[in-house]
């Protein structure tokens, strides 16, 4: 059944059941991935899927339902499910069904050329990841990941207020991870890439960087516990920023779950820090002309030179605060209710290269990976205590690798103690915390536990 036809039938059935307002959020995606192990295609996955998220107002309250099969049975499930779920809602939050923005920005996030790359070419790419990883260093014992994939997604929103918008996006990714071994010591090094421009995928470079990182860690040992001046590599800052991105959500603020509540207009970070949410970024992993409620998106500075300028809003939180939605309504999938998330969310880069930052660090630690952000970080308090590894720097030079340490601190204090910002802005993998990007940062001090 065509999705527009399906929507009309759902709305008709809903009206009959007494639903007052209705909205469908449909996502359809086509994905491909291939993984190579020992020169063979180890895994090859193709998929075509769709899902319909439905929400409806009944008795003034809004309930949700979703289906994946688009058929007669599903119409009944959606209408009856949403109606039943509306009836258990206590919250008095006013949920708005949006008729549409006056205009929508032009956003480029679908690359036709990327979609034309053949499966054979992608398989070849993954094979090259593995071959080049082995070729880089004789200590590579195993390439435990050599994979690449491609996906395209269409989103379609329509409601009984007259909203009807759609949008397509595509992207490719690749990941290589090598296990390197010297004597009894085993380390892994990996590199992930997520872009929608195939010309930016260089298997040889990616494999070499992964292996070189693994090899560079072979002489790692711990350090003495204490406070260290720290250079956080861009990908570590991405991890932290995406873990704590909910503190900028108006929903968290209104529920008393963000310590930034009441701090609009205040200095909350070092004056060097400007944090941008840019849904219009060309070819960004989270770029879109409208958000999950159909509101036109726009670019804004969330922190401008250290000052907190706005929270991220959807229609519900905006209404509560008496402001405009910032276009940050978000549904993790068609199954999820509307929440809030940043889009392309990044710290504005500075002037200095990574190497210059290493020199400037003088003596301290470079952290290149943190583990356990899902468990060892508390977005409510801002506290984190995470497994980490990286390098020891003395007199502006890397002297050895460091592992078996934890870094502990507080996200809000970290924002205040940013001393230097690099020019090496990179984005990570789009996820629940947005498509987060950052350059590398020098932090005045963090508590390190070793021995």
């Amino acid at each position: 059944m065509d999705i527009r036809e399906f929507k009309d039938q759902v709305f008709a059935a809903g009206r009959e059941a007494g639903l007052e307002e209705m909205e469908v959020y449909v996502s359809r995606s086509k994905d491909f991935s291939v993984r190579i192990f020992q020169e063979e295609v180890d895994d090859y996955t193709v998929s075509l899927e769709q899902g319909v998220g439905f929400r409806a107002r009944y008795g003034g309250k809004v309930g949700y339902a979703y289906v994946e099969a688009v058929d007669e049975d599903s119409i009944k499930l959606l209408v009856e499910g949403a109606k039943a779920n509306a009836q258990i809602i206590d919250s008095d939050d006013e949920i708005v069904f949006f008729a549409g923005s006056a205009e929508y920005p032009e956003v480029v996030a679908f690359n036709e050329e990327l979609g034309k790359v053949s499966p054979e070419e992608r398989i070849e790419f993954a094979k090259t990841l593995e071959t080049e990883a082995f070729a880089t260093d004789s200590r590579v014992a195993l390439v435990n990941w050599a994979t690449t994939g491609y996906g395209e997604t269409d989103v379609y929103i329509a409601n009984t207020k007259g909203l009807e918008q759609s949008f397509s996006r595509n992207a490719a990714y690749s990941f290589v991870s090598a296990m390197v071994k010297e004597g009894e010591t085993v380390k892994t090094g990996g590199r992930f890439l997520f872009k929608n421009d195939w010309s930016q995928f260089d298997a040889k470079k990616q494999a070499q960087e992964a292996v070189q990182e693994g090899v560079s860690l072979l002489d790692a040992s711990t350090v003495k516990s204490g406070e260290y001046r720290v250079l956080l590599r861009y990908d570590v800052v991405q991890d932290l920023l995406s873990t704590f991105s909910s503190v900028f959500s108006a929903e968290a603020v209104q529920k008393g779950l963000s310590l930034l509540g009441g701090k609009l207009g205040e200095q909350i970070a070092s004056p060097k820090v400007t944090l941008i949410d840019d849904p219009l970024l060309p070819n960004g992993g989270a770029s879109a002309p409208f958000d999950a409620e159909g509101v036109a998106t726009k670019t804004k500075e969330v922190i401008a030179q250290g000052t907190l300028t706005t929270f991220l809003h959807n229609l519900k939180t905006a209404k509560k605060d008496g402001v405009e939605s910032t276009g940050n309504a978000f549904r993790a999938s068609f199954k999820s209710p509307v929440g809030i998330s940043p889009s392309n969310f990044y710290i504005k880069p500075g002037e200095k290269s990574y190497d210059e930052l290493v020199q400037e660090l003088g003596s301290g630690l470079i952290i290149i990976d943190v583990q356990g952000t899902h468990s060892g970080a508390n977005p409510v308090s801002g506290d984190f205590s995470l497994g980490a590894y990286g390098y020891l720097v003395e007199n502006g030079k890397i002297t050895r690798a460091v592992d078996q340490i934890t870094i502990a601190g507080n996200f809000f204090k970290l924002l205040e103690s940013v001393e230097e910002i690099g020019s090496d802005l990179e984005f990570g993998i789009p996820g629940y915390g947005g498509n987060v990007g950052s350059p590398s940062l020098i932090i005045e001090k963090l508590a390190i536990a070793g021995n």
Binding site: F37, D43, V67, I88
Partner: protein, 463 residues
Amino acid sequence: MLTERLVTDVLLAALSTGGDFAEIFMEDTYNTMIRMINGQVEEGVTGRDYGVGIRIFQGTRSVYAYTNDTARENLMRVALEAAAALADTPQVKSIVLARMAVEKFNPIVLEPRLVASTDKVGVMRKAHTAAFDYHEQISQVAVNYLDVDQNVFIANSDGLMADDRRVRTRLSINAVATKGNEKQSGFYGPGRHMGFELFDHIDVEEYAREAARIAVTMVNADYAPSGKYPVIIHNEFGGVIFHEACGHGLEATSVAKGASVFSGKLGEQVASELVTAVDDGTIANAWGSQNIDDEGNKTRRNVLIENGILKGYMVDKLNGRRMGMEPTGNSRRQSYKYAPTSRMTNTFICAGESSFEDIISNTEYALFAKHMGGGSVNPATGEFNFAVAEGYLVRNGKIEKPVRGATLIGKGSEILQKIDMVGSNWSTGQGMCGSISGSIPADVGQPTIRVTEITVGGREEAK
């Protein structure tokens, strides 16, 4: 459901390019999620997941395709599209399907879909009130209710044809305590492979008060000292350390490729001789149990480590081919959107002989990790990290005071050797385990154990 004729045709189409094994996994799942914050229901979502996954092997090559359009012409198209990844002449020309008798040892009494939403909300309110009233410092309580009714049909070119139903129900309670500018949270998430009768088996209010108690204890605690020193890990969810630090390394997913520290170590002493560890998918109504796994194998009780000696791995069909081993009933996946692979079910360290009191009273100085948060591991190196959700300092044989903010890091293989006391107070806790075949329910468990030293991360230096 699919007809036998269609199943056979799709499997043969999947094998038309030289595959030696093909499998269909069909799923029809009903989900309910209700979210309550501060006693108010904020969201209710019900939904139906529906689709088919088709898997093809040629030797150790694997192809997977999935779709949620189950019309004949689409399934045939998807089977052929997947088959196109291989390019040989067909080896399998006929399939005879035989229905497998599946022993249903996880009885379901109250089907969640037949229970009124208001009853579900009623349980949530009880939990909310118990947590909220626990202490004046409790500032927020979030309660989530979840039920899943998963119906699967599995058929393969070896002739297997089986179905199974997995009904799971879970309540999770997150309490936040506030003191001045500080906030700490406490969590409990009891769940079972059962229907709404779960709430006849567990005391919701007791779990809610525990979540609140953890939050209040932690908001009034000092930071944990950092450094390398003894750690006592409590029972129940404390088993997450074995799950992450060792369990993942015993999955064929990493063992088969030599990507695990436990590869090639069968029969070797890998742990202290006090340690016996098991993965058991056959415990009636346990959170991680299933009547059959997602390849149609009966689940089993698999001894992983016995008195410190490595006895076995958790093996799925594909990795079994690489390893020359039979599947162990551990093949699992989140949904039809994932190819299955070897995963844990209910995994735990078995009970030992020491009493809890003996462990504490025989300890001069240690961190007592009463409740663990989550963690993760790099299976290739065995390096893990865990958050301690509720910690205490033990000094001179006594629990001295609560401490917060501790993280445990180390290598699984080293920790296993350093376990020097194992308690008799075995119990389990529930978690969601994420890996390449998605997020699946899994029980973790152990008695209280003592480890001679672990690196404890925190903000204060040890005194």
